[in-house]
Amino acid sequence: MSIRVCDIMHNGVITCSCEESLRNVAAMLSDNQFRSVVVVNENGEVWGLITYMELLAHFQEDAGVIQACQVMRPYRIEVDPQWPIEKAIELMNKLKYYHLIIVDPHVGTRWPVGMLTSFDVVRYMSHLESGHFASFLKLHRQESAGH
C-alpha cells in the first residue's frame, strides 16, 4: 500500500502574523525547538515561511523593528495530505524546498494543517518507530560496554 503524505507528516504548525516582529519569531523557534514558522494572513491562510536562513540574514540588525512579512519567503506551493509520499519527495528535491506546508483542500481555504520536512522522511526511511528509540539506545550502550 502506498504511503501518503498524511501518514508521515507532523500535524500542526507554528504560525505567526505578517506583522509579528522578528525577535518574537526567533523566540518562537527557539522555545519550541522548531525549524520554521508559517506566516499567515488575517484569514489564517498560508502566506509565507520563515526558516533559520531568513533569520540568519538579520542577525546583527534590530529584530524588534523588522516584521515577519519583510523577511519571509513567499509560499505558493500546495501539497495535499493525500498525495503519495513519492510525489512530495520529488517536489522537495526539484524545488530544494525541504519544508512543505500541508493544506487541507477540503476546507476551502489555505489553512495549514501540518508540515512535511526532510527529517520526517528520514524518520520513515529509518524504520524506527517512536517506541523503538529506547531499545536502540540500549543496544548502543551494550555495544559500548562490550568494547
Partner: protein
C-alpha cells in the same frame, strides 16, 4: 557580546563511519534528533557530512546496501573556534547551509571539535531579545 564561533558552537559532534549503511546513518540521526551527521573514516579523519536532505535524495534506493560514502557531501564548510561569528554567519548565508563543522587550527589540525548550528545562533538572538526586554 558574543563574537566568536566558540561562544555558540556545540562541543563534540555525532559521527558515523563512511562504511555504514545509509539506513544506520538515518537511525543515528533520528535517535539523536539531528538533521546531520559528520562522516569520518577509520583514521577518524573528516570525510564529509550527511544531512537529512542527502538521505531524502536516496529515497527509493536500497539504503541497506548504499553506504554513507556514497551519499555524503564532501564539500564541507568548516570554521575554527576563533573565527568571528559574523564571518561564520556570512559563510552560512553565502552557501545556504545551516551548520558549519568546527575544526582545530587548519591545516595542521583537522580534528572535529564541534558544530556551529543555525539553531544556536537563533537561540542567541532570542536570548539577547529576552535580556533586552527585562
Amino acid at each position: 557580546m558574543t563574537d566568536k564561533a566558540k561562544d555558540l558552537m556545540r562541543r563534540g559532534a555525532i559521527t558515523c563511519n563512511e562504511d555504514m549503511s545509509v539506513r544506520s546513518v538515518a537511525q543515528i540521526m533520528v535517535v539523536n534528533r539531528l538533521r546531520y551527521t559528520v562522516v569520518i573514516n577509520k583514521q577518524c579523519e573528516l570525510k564529509g557530512i550527511i544531512s537529512a536532505d542527502s538521505i531524502l535524495r536516496a529515497y527509493a534506493k536500497d539504503i541497506d546496501s548504499l553506504r554513507a560514502k556514497d551519499i555524503l557531501d564532501t564539500c564541507t564548510f568548516t570554521t575554527t573556534p576563533a573565527t568571528p561569528l559574523q564571518e561564520a554567519i556570512a559563510l552560512m548565508k553565502k552557501r545556504k547551509i545551516e551548520h558549519l563543522i568546527v575544526v582545530g587550527d587548519p591545516p595542521r589540525d583537522r580534528s572535529v571539535l564541534g558544530i556551529l548550528h543555525a539553531s544556536d545562533i537563533v537561540r542567541s538572538m532570542a536570548q539577547r531579545v529576552k535580556g533586552e526586554g527585562i
